[in-house]
Assembly symmetry: C2
Homo-oligomer: 378 residues x 2
């Protein structure tokens, strides 16, 4: 069963404490976990060709229901052969359900028990998203992994607000499950909500497990609660999730977040931090975070990160990257996004190898020690 490419399966290969090294088999290929998914919101990982994304070692990318339903439209992408063909990514694609973006981007949103009505941030046109429609859109996009529609609970929220919001998300999760058309090698993930309240997270995890999903995401974190609170929620929530399904921490995070979350049993991540940083000159390296606009790079003949095999590091002196950012040349964001994604993918591969070797704790300590001054000038 596990080895059948046509079946959506997760298999744990090794554990180290709570951390897991695993593999997801999908209709579009395998994903080794822990895995970081570059964010391709509108059908492109910003500033990267699909070949470049592949060259970093990424196996799966993320697309976004909210953005793609508005432009170019889900039916249009379906008519063009699906998102894989559209964006030249034959590998697995996970699509976010749109809940988070409606809360953060859309105008004049009106929530009701059955869905949300909102105005597009692009042209103000009115749209409606229900669990069934969110699932249908992701089907049209041909998403390998579909996310249930949820409401991303605002932060901070009172216990009452968080409970009501979580309960709404659980109703939508059930409706999403009903609307999802199973296909071999395709999966549907539910999303745990409940803000910073452990008992609400527990209720949410139990409700989702009762419904039954191919994987379980933890949403509503990294929204301002701080790393300590986020990790405390992981400590209480992850053990409640089925052990035979992948676990996905949505929208997280920094390299330090990734290590801490993998140590707590998370398998999958997505985050704009490496790509957004790549466009602003913020570099993630073996030695910590660096701001390439800093004058100290102006004459630096050495590589940005000697341990990195990306073109930015192997082909150019750091001074060139500095020059590109000072000159507002597009190649600066292109090369640095490539580098940051290569750094993230290497971190994930190294964590996986460390888990398999039973030395994740040592790896984490050594990696953090090498970040001598993680925020020195960034």
């Amino acid at each position: 069963m596990d080895s059948a490419v046509s079946s959506f399966t997760y298999r744990t290969i090794a554990t180290d404490g709570l951390a897991r090294a695993g593999a997801i088999a999908t209709a579009h290929g395998a994903v080794e976990t822990p895995a970081f998914m570059p964010v391709g919101t509108t059908g492109t990982v910003k500033a990267m060709t699909a070949d470049a994304v592949r060259a970093t070692g990424a196996a799966i990318v993320l697309g976004n229901t909210y953005h793609l339903m508005l432009r170019p439209g889900a039916e249009r992408i379906a008519a063009l052969g699906g998102l894989h063909r559209f964006m030249d990514w034959p590998g697995p694609i996970l699509t976010d359900s749109g809940g988070f973006q409606i809360m953060s981007l859309a105008k004049l949103r009106k929530l009701d028990a059955d869905g949300v009505t909102f105005q597009s941030h692009i042209d103000g046109a009115t749209h409606r998203l229900t669990p069934a429609r969110a699932i249908a859109i992701q089907h049209l996009l041909d998403a390998t992994i579909t996310m249930a529609l949820d409401e991303c609970t605002q932060f901070p929220a009172t216990h009452d607000q968080a409970r009501a919001s979580m309960q709404l998300s659980m109703r939508w999760a059930a409706a999403s499950r009903q609307a999802f058309v199973p296909r071999p090698g395709y999966g549907l993930f539910g999303i745990v909500q409940g803000s910073v309240f452990p008992e609400l997270r527990r209720a949410s995890a139990e409700a989702l497990t009762e419904i039954g999903f191919d994987g379980y995401a933890i949403g509503g974190l990294a929204v301002g609660e701080g790393q300590a609170t986020m990790l405390a929620i992981l400590d209480t929530t992850v053990p409640l999730l089925p052990h035979d399904r992948p676990r996905y921490l949505m929208g997280v995070g920094t390299p330090d977040d990734l290590i801490a979350a993998v140590q707590r049993g998370i398998d999958m991540f997505d985050c704009v931090i490496p790509t957004r940083g790549g466009r602003t000159g913020r570099a993630f390296t073996t030695h910590g975070i660096r701001n390439l606009r800093n004058a100290r790079f102006a004459d630096d003949a050495g590589p940005l990160d000697a341990a990195c095999d990306c073109p930015a590091c192997t082909r150019h002196p750091s001074a060139y990257l500095h020059h590109l950012f000072k000159s507002a040349e597009m190649l600066g964001p292109m090369l640095l996004t490539w580098h940051n994604l290569a750094y993230y993918q290497r971190l994930m591969r190294d964590m996986r190898a460390a888990i398999i070797a039973g030395r994740l704790h040592e790896f984490a300590a050594a990696t953090r020690a090498a970040w001598q001054a993680p925020e020195d000038d960034a």
Copy 2:
């Protein structure tokens, strides 16, 4: 002699009418002609990695003395190992002398017999460029082909203005020749000026030939005089240039310009048209110029140009490129610049093959016929 890589040589391999197929041997490798040089003004071909530029088939790129002397500085690039290493382009690089950019970009420029004093468009700092300094900068950059400093004559100009300007450029050409430090496999080109006046062009060509250069450029064209006038100047000027040296038409042009100029004996070109067009959605294709922002591409499942082997054409439907431009995604300019440069390089290769086959006229007619509506919606 011709085959020695360490010697800067030009060899004509075949002719077809006035058109020539040739090869330039340089210290940094060979350039087959006719050749189009992508413009890498500040040390980057905009929106392209060096690998992508190579993938289009380009053998030589252009850098710019004016831009690079201001930022990051010629001495700095020299300290970092030269422009080749800086921008990951071990192949031949031709550097413009800066004359054109001082006229078009710099503030408060003051011309005298010995050079030009100007203020940087970046920070207003005062700089001075003389023929000797322009040559020294290009030496520091490690330019394979150095251009003599010239004054790009304004258009329109009276005969008196054009003569005075041309004579100044000829004095600077002699001074440039004197300042140039010959190295095996490196070359210095002179630049013919004289505006639209054939007798001034003749005087300029004769003056340069008398001085003696490794190649001869024609400057001061494509500045508003129109294609017919430009071609008339080529008709009278090209035959005056030494037959055993490459001929370079600066800042030209559209695909139609390139064909017409090759038919008149030009070997080398540079122009921002394909790269600038790539950033604005203007595509050069087998079937003419296309504007990818046009709504007719919204549902187009076919390739932009079926004859093209670039990633934009082989990996994506045209609708994807349309979507990227409508969404202001960086990948739009990245993919379309790649495509446009691939188109230009293919045009040059095809012209070279046609010259060798003795059928450039037929090739030109067929190529133009295929541009059914060259400016239909661009």
